[in-house]
Symmetry: C2
Subunit: 589 residues, 2 copies
């Protein structure tokens, strides 16, 4: 009986041989029928999951010759979980080094993950490859680091064009900028706010990250080990600003991209930049990245009669604090994270608050999510077991979307049982809780439509206790001078209306900056085609248009939460770097 | 035949038992005659080496009862190097947890290192002890992180007094400030420059750190892994400024301490602070730390006739760049690091440069030092072998000063052979090279007098080639309008004189700020009593007055290079924290 290590080593060696011999039928015979190969850039120059042997065969047919993979070898400890053997492996392609993860059932592969780590000859100058920093020889006319850095900064965008421009200097743009800097891709980040981190600083005063620190690290510069579990938004803002400086990014604040147009002949963008200081100018990069929001711009809704409203009315992204609303009637439209946070903050400031819950919400207590959702991958315990952030990210990536909902359903059931008391009390208070159409819960809602859920950090208790009032299953149909009318014809007094109505797709920014035609050609982003509410089919099996080539040249979307931005920025950066260096990048669609 | 692990485990268990039974004779019988016990705070509340069994017995007699050590256990892999078994161990005292290192010859101890890691009940809030960052419960009137941080900053030094004031906001003050912040000791750092890092920024333009990055890490926030081997001074300045922000230090720029006086009755300092903005004020801390320079203020020398000199004349600490001295006659007095760097920079700017070497210099090529001096502890190779910075620091600390010169002598001989060609060419150029009075070389000169050596980063080649001229074994006896007269009566034309004459003891700052009496009572710092030039006896066995209680209450010196500051700041911080918390700290002298 071979050991798990022998089984994994045997499989990977045989698989490597099959690919080396270009024997695709042999290679696919090593997969079970229910199988998945997820590739992040290394084979497909795409973010792509092949489902089933025939999809795998098609991909190999198209891309095996150019990929030319070699050097397959198991690294680290092989583990056995029930009937599944799990192993990490390294491999190379013609142009890159990769890291992969394998799950075997019996002697056949169930899931395979292949990811690109670095391009050969274009490795980051880190660790043993770090630069010396100084020439230990007296040389006339040599420049200091400060002189070189100042010169680079003062010429990029003027006498030298950046290879890449990133629109949006929030976490996504900053993190991708850091990856590109490490890879030597001249990049300018355009941000309409003054300082890096302002997109966090300008949000409502009480905002604290809902994800824990272990999940939120930026690449290259982890948070110090005394960083709090949940980062307050101003501290996050400061960290992003510091990060931008440490990474020496070319970050242009008070610089807004007003238009961008691609010249198909010159294969070059012209990017019009409006700046509060230094005048407007046009940049001419080869690649353009939209990182204009973790999801997109605010989703405003139409409120008939709002022009006559005598109170304040704005989107939750403009909400700062409940300080001036003590004793006032406040109506918050929406029932996801922001709506709960705004309602809680208003209650804390002695306002009279009603939440208008238009559709059911998936609610999970933060403590519960930490223990059941994060602990195995992102926690002190995971770290103690050698699951670094990089490893946790790859483990998370190793689950194909097709299997993900199935894994989440029993987890949601466990959560529902565990916190049954809270859910019963919420129901009694008139609040509608759901677990998604297929019962797969919070994580899947996040992937499918990036809305419709609340990580409970205290708001649910206020609702259960009636301190935040709830009107469920209704819409606001009309706004009057001092009230709102709901779809059940009831009237609520209102001196403040906050629309916590979420955010639009990032393609809305493309429509505005490039053109509606291009936006339509590309299609929406986020969602993976689950054919559930807010995420229409057909099945994509990957998040739509995120971190991968689009149906338009030299254009990219980057974003998501801190963890998404951290992990997938690597693949966006490698795709851009390869193009800059003229490495062939045959994209497998 | 017991294995090394069995030998180490057996020894540590028996030693623990002997101490638990207060059987001092048994305990000292476990040491060989030629033995050393170095303690960093855990047993002695001091930085102290006991040499020989009787010194160890005396210490145990005095401090064993209050220390009450327990829980001795070997951690990690035990190694055998020649006849010596080396092991790491953990232990506890009544009030702290400690980490130690042991060297056995046969079944007896040769060297023992005991160090304090943390005070029980006052551990840093890191890792599993990190703070949550937010209360997951709606609460009226709660304050945000930003509000709390702003309030703390605006009250400390005004309505609330700091427990500790650090004079000097260079690397030493900043690093110690970070340690104290982690331990919850309210501390203000006073810096006469505007911004953290200015002490590096203001130095000469071409300055690059002579020590490699692996040796230079600050605690808590290591340099990113693409940091260059040798840090340019402006980048170091920026890093210190960033570090100060990340660590949320109470750092007062443009704030100079002009006087300090201790009230023996109130057990409190009054520290007069002159500020460029916000007015002068008096702080009343319980503890005062001088961190006014890695060694001390510049050492100015008397140059007869300098008042009539028509050129520029200043200390090397005021030197910025050779730009304005092209084609001019420049005389640099001194032959250590700064002198070489200034001469090199002047040559690079086409000046005519003569170095006045008053006494011989220990020269080691940077590459050679990296390979023979640093590589085993501070390098990528050491890291790959599990020697983290913390571990390397303890290994370095485990060598008692009594043995250090003996270890360095053969190393110096190896270096002399390896780079014999360079030394021969320097000699031919009239440059005097030495290896210290006992042949122990560069490291020991650094410890003994913090001067008299050069880590060659290119200057020696210029001297060997005659591009920098040298006059050796002479002094400047007189300065004339356009020349200097040397002690051999020769005359050199001069339009610039740079005194690269080193730095004074930090006690010079005490004399100025507190009083000459107190400075005299304390005595000088640095040097360990080796009875060599610049380091008079008697033997101390530790660096004088550094990081340890002084002959004056509530007063401390902190400083040294980045590595010293990193490592010993822990012990200064623990000593101060213990006093703040009222933990008994019986100092063994």
């Amino acid at each position: 009986m071979p050991t798990p290590t022998e089984r994994a080593s045997g499989w990977i060696a045989a698989f490597g041989n099959a690919l080396a011999g270009a024997d695709i039928s042999l290679a696919i015979s090593m997969f079970q029928d229910d199988c998945y190969w997820r590739d992040l850039v290394s084979f497909t120059w795409n973010v792509k999951t092949m489902e089933g042997p025939s999809a795998i065969a098609d991909m190999l047919q198209a891309n095996l010759p150019s990929t030319n993979p070699t050097g397959w070898s198991i690294v680290d400890r092989v583990i056995e979980v029930g009937e599944v053997v799990e192993a990490w492996f390294d491999f190379e392609t013609a142009v890159s080094r990769g890291r992969g993860h394998l799950r075997l059932k019996g002697d056949k592969c169930w899931t395979l993950l292949t990811t690109m780590l670095e391009l050969k000859g274009f490795e980051e100058h880190a660790g043993t490859r770090r630069e010396k920093g100084v020439e230990h020889r007296a040389t006339k006319g040599r420049k200091t680091w400060l002189e070189c850095a100042s010169e680079e900064q003062s010429t990029l965008g003027y006498s030298r064009q950046p290879y890449c421009v990133i629109i949006g200097g929030g976490q996504g743009g900053i993190i991708l900028g850091a990856r590109l800097k490490r890879l030597g891709v001249p990049t300018i980040i355009l941000e309409k706010n003054a300082r890096a981190g302002d997109s966090w600083r300008k949000r409502y005063k009480s905002l604290v990250l809902h994800d824990p620190v272990w999940y939120d690290h930026l690449p290259y510069l982890p948070f110090p080990d005394d960083w709090p579990v949940f980062t307050p938004k101003d501290r996050m803002g400061d960290w992003l600003e510091i990060y931008t400086k440490v990474m020496q990014l070319d970050y242009w604040g008070l610089a807004e991209c007003t238009a961008a147009k691609y010249d198909l002949d010159k294969r070059e963008w012209s990017v019009t930049v409006h700046r509060d200081y230094g005048g407007d100018l046009v940049l001419r990069p080869k690649q353009l990245v939209f990182a204009t929001g973790s999801v997109g711009p605010p989703k405003e809704i139409h409120l008939p009669g709002v022009d006559l409203f005598q109170g304040d009315c704005y989107h939750s992204s403009a909400y700062i604090s409940g300080k001036k609303y003590a004793g006032k009637h406040c109506v918050v439209i929406g029932a996801s994270n922001s709506a709960h946070d705004v309602c809680t903050d208003l209650w804390e400031h002695d306002a009279d608050v009603t939440m208008i819950q238009r559709s059911p919400t998936t609610v999970v207590k933060s403590e519960t999510l930490m223990e059941l959702g994060f602990a195995s991958l992102y926690s002190e315990e995971a770290l103690a077991q050698g699951i670094t952030v990089e490893r946790a990210d790859l483990l998370a990536a190793s689950i194909p979307f097709r299997l993900m909902a199935g894994i989440q359903i029993p987890l949601s059931e466990t959560i529902a049982r565990r916190d049954a008391d809270l859910y019963a009390r919420l129901k009694k208070a008139g609040f509608l809780v759901d677990w998604g159409e297929d019962g797969s819960g919070l994580t899947m809602k996040a992937y499918r439509k990036a809305s419709g859920y609340y990580i409970d950090v205290g708001g649910s208790e206020l609702i259960a206790e009636g301190k935040i009032k709830v009107r469920s299953g209704v819409e606001v149909t009309e706004v009057r001078q001092q009230s709102v009318i709901l779809s059940d014809r009831s009237e609520l007094p209102a001196e403040l209306i906050v629309c916590a109505t979420g955010y639009r797709h990032m393609t809305a920014a493309v429509a505005k900056i490039i053109s509606p035609d291009v936006a339509e050609r590309i299609g929406p982003n986020w969602g993976y085609g689950s054919d559930t509410s807010g995420d229409p089919g057909p099945w994509f099996g990957e998040l739509r248009n995120m971190w991968k080539p689009l149906a338009y040249p030299a254009l990219w979307f980057h974003g998501g939460n801190l963890a998404n931005s951290r992990q997938y920025s690597l693949y966006v950066a490698l795709q851009i770097k390869a193009r800059m260096e003229g490495i062939p990048t045959p994209v497998y669609e």
